[in-house]
Amino acid sequence: MAARKTTSKSNASAEELKAFYHDMLLIRRFEEKAGQLYGMGLIGGFCHLYIGQEAVVVGLEAAAKDGDKRITTYRDHGHMLACGMDPNGVMAELTGREGGYSRGKGGSMHMFSTEKHFYGGHGIVGANVPLGAGLAFSDKYKGNDNVTFTYFGDGAANQGQVYETFNMAALWDLPVIFVIENNQYAMGTSQQRSTSSPDIYHRGEAFGIPGEMVDGMDVLAVRDAGQKAVDHCRAGKGPYILEIKTYRYRGHSMSDPAKYRTREEVQKMRDEKDAIEHVRDLLLTGKHATEEDLKAIDKEIKKVVNASAEFAKESPEPDPKELWTDIYTDIAPQNA
């Protein structure tokens, strides 16, 4: 591996660094496996991989506490793993099986967990942004100090409803963190070709929402920014914007040939900026872990991921009767 310049001096403990390494690598290996299962025809439809962006969710989850909520768009597998959802249930949803989080009825883009306060998984770009503010509204209404992480991309940042939401979130001091995962390409359109001003984090200024740009390939920088945003929201000071500069290594979805960027551009990011390699370097150079320790983590993750793939293959397809269930409920939901 090409050496990466470690810019941030690690202020993290060995345990924390190991946990970051583990969580990011789990996402990467899980996504690689999902890509493989897609290639085998076991996963259908659209499948958007998170490879390259792992530090964003892992860094922010480090700033979350129990009861905090998260909601995102359709590149959502990483978010689910990072908040502690079971890889078996996620993978089995990807294969459309009974053991999936939505019993096979949601798929890659539509998964939820009331237990982990994960509110999707949304297929409509931008639509999850007012939903996230609504979740934050519910916490403020109930009078607790929970916050909602509302993730969206640089592409979604051009949707009108995002600004409708900024306005109301600021007006009502909603405890919502708008996390813009800027991976620089809205499907095949680069940010330069779609966005009139390059710094998206400035866009809250018109509403009085503070914002900052964060290096999304540095999990420690993400954690620190996340903590700052969370403190702001928990203190009742209203919303906060984090524009997190990141990069997706794979195509937009599995069927994207990615001709809008060069192979060299992708390779350069992988070689010089990879977030997992960064933490690996910190662990090794700081003598927090040995090569052997890390190999053991790799091995354990491989086992978990392979088990999730096996589970997702073995889990039966949903019973045909499932077609007609969950359209209406008689029970008042316990969503909170």
């Binding site: 890509g35 290639g39 009825k105 007012p130 519910s138 939401t165 109301m168 409920t329």
Partner: protein
């Protein structure tokens, strides 16, 4: 253990492709993320990355080969310490059970030749006989319903444009701010898409929002949140996440407000599984159905009408009066024809029945009240008795509620029909402004009378 690398599916529809180029050769070491080959699908040339690390033991499909089926072994990957000789022992990965779906039993065709189920209408009265009633306008009834439910549950709140300080654009939320305060009666900016989404999010977060649209015309800006977020989340989450929310406001034509402010959305929303759709006519229904809507754990579309707001009806004086969804009300019993309507269409239906009675035609008039669920049984039982049916609504004729009722009658009461069903609807035009043209664009009592004469041949 040596593993086979399989020809990948690289799009939702790919079945085979061309192995255009190998970027690795036998003996090369690969790690996860390395590009191994270029594969041409029907749409594009894609790069194919390695997932596992290992050594390319053997290339099984030469570059340039066309028509390589998905899941064909194209190369063998060796792990550390293995040699190409181990290849014969490589286990073939089981092909994807793509055919599994085909093995599932075909769903039974709907209503296959079987005799249609006999209707079982529930004709019980809405309130016990002898209950005291008082005259109340639809406006007052809606207002009382919300106030009662907000007293009942702390998690019910109302949000919309001008609902608080202005007291409601149509005064439906009058005095609510005073009683419940600004935490629960919330003025929004003019931003339907945004506040509909915030409302849905709040419902997913465990609250019970009432979202008022100043008129349903403006809700078209928010329709994605209503359908994609509110109606579908329960299903997409495998039953985990319900969305108890009421979207309400005036719907349909008011008077002289032109094309963009005069549209009936009954048929639009009635098409969506996951929503419940209510369109009340009377004040007692407005009250009883709105209370049921606020208590319902599902998203409810509540379609009111500006012209009806000021009309008075008998409302029972009861502590807790509700009307269930899916139960039609028979306003007038008759034997010669069934007139089915809902909302303001009931005005024409009832007036027409009066006029027809003068000529000795005895019409039965049914108010559907809710359009999802629809009370088919009451309609079918009635048509089995009268053998004729006319439907009345203000919405457009194509794919109307009347069309759906007609189709259902064909399926479940074909042998009972003595005439084709006629649908009285709004005309197939945008609403004009001119007074005379607006009148022509709406359906009318005269049209209903005429339709009944046609189906009764009198």
């Amino acid at each position: 253990m040596a593993t086979e690398i399989l020809m990948p599916a690289l799009s939702p529809t790919m079945e085979e492709g061309t192995l255009a180029k190998w970027l690795v050769k036998e003996g090369d070491t690969v790690v996860s993320g390395d590009i191994m080959a270029e594969i041409e699908t029907d749409k594009a040339t894609m790069e194919f990355e390695a997932v596992d690390e290992g050594v390319i033991g053997k290339i099984l499909i030469a570059e340039g080969t066309e028509g390589v089926k998905v899941n064909t072994a194209i190369a063998v990957l060796l792990e550390e310490g293995e040699s190409a000789d181990d290849i014969s022992a490589a286990p073939a990965e089981k092909a994807a059970p793509a055919a599994a779906a085909a093995e599932a039993p075909a769903p039974t065709a709907p209503a296959k030749a079987a005799a249609p189920a006999a209707p079982k209408p529930d004709l019980s009265p809405d309130w016990p006989e002898g209950t005291e009633t008082k005259k109340q306008t639809v406006r007052e009834a809606l207002n009382t319903a919300m106030a009662e439910e907000m007293r009942r549950r702390e998690d019910v709140f109302i949000m919309g444009e001008e609902v608080a300080e202005y007291q409601g654009a149509y005064k439906i939320t009058q005095n609510l701010l005073e009683e419940f305060g600004k935490k629960r009666v919330i003025d929004t900016p003019i931003t339907e898409h945004g506040f509909a989404g915030i409302g849905v999010g709040a419902a997913l977060g465990g609250l019970r929002p009432i979202i008022e649209f100043m008129t349903w015309n403006f809700a078209m800006q928010a329709i994605d949140q209503i359908i994609n977020s509110a109606a579908k989340t329960l299903y997409m989450s495998g039953g985990q996440m319900g969305c108890p929310i009421v979207f309400r406001g005036p719907n349909g034509a008011a008077a002289r407000v032109g094309a963009q402010h005069s549209q009936d959305y009954a048929a639009w929303y009635a098409q969506i599984p996951g929503l419940k759709v209510v369109q009340p006519y009377s004040a007692s229904d407005a009250k009883g159905l709105l209370k049921s809507a606020i208590r319902d754990p599902n998203p409810v579309i509540f379609l009111e009408n500006e012209i009806l707001y000021g009309r008075s009806f008998d409302v029972p004086v009861m502590d807790d009066f509700t009307v269930p969804f899916g139960k039609a009300r028979v306003w007038r019993e008759g034997t010669d024809v069934t007139i089915v309507s809902f909302g303001i269409g009931m005005t024409y239906a009832l007036e027409a029945a009066e006029k027809l009675a003068e000529d000795g035609i005895d019409a039965e008039v049914i108010d559907l009240r809710t359009l999802r669920p629809i009370d088919y049984d009451t309609v079918i039982a009635s048509v089995m008795k009268t053998n004729r049916c006319v439907t009345v609504e203000e919405g457009w004729p194509v794919a109307s509620i009347g069309n759906h009722i007609s189709a259902t009658l064909m399926q479940r009461a074909f042998d009972y029909l003595d005439a084709p069903v006629i649908n009285c609807t709004g005309k197939d035009v945008p609403m004009p402004y001119a007074a005379n043209l607006e009148k022509l664009a709406l359906t009318s009592t005269a049209e209903v009378v005429d339709a009944v004469r046609q189906v009764t041949y009198r």
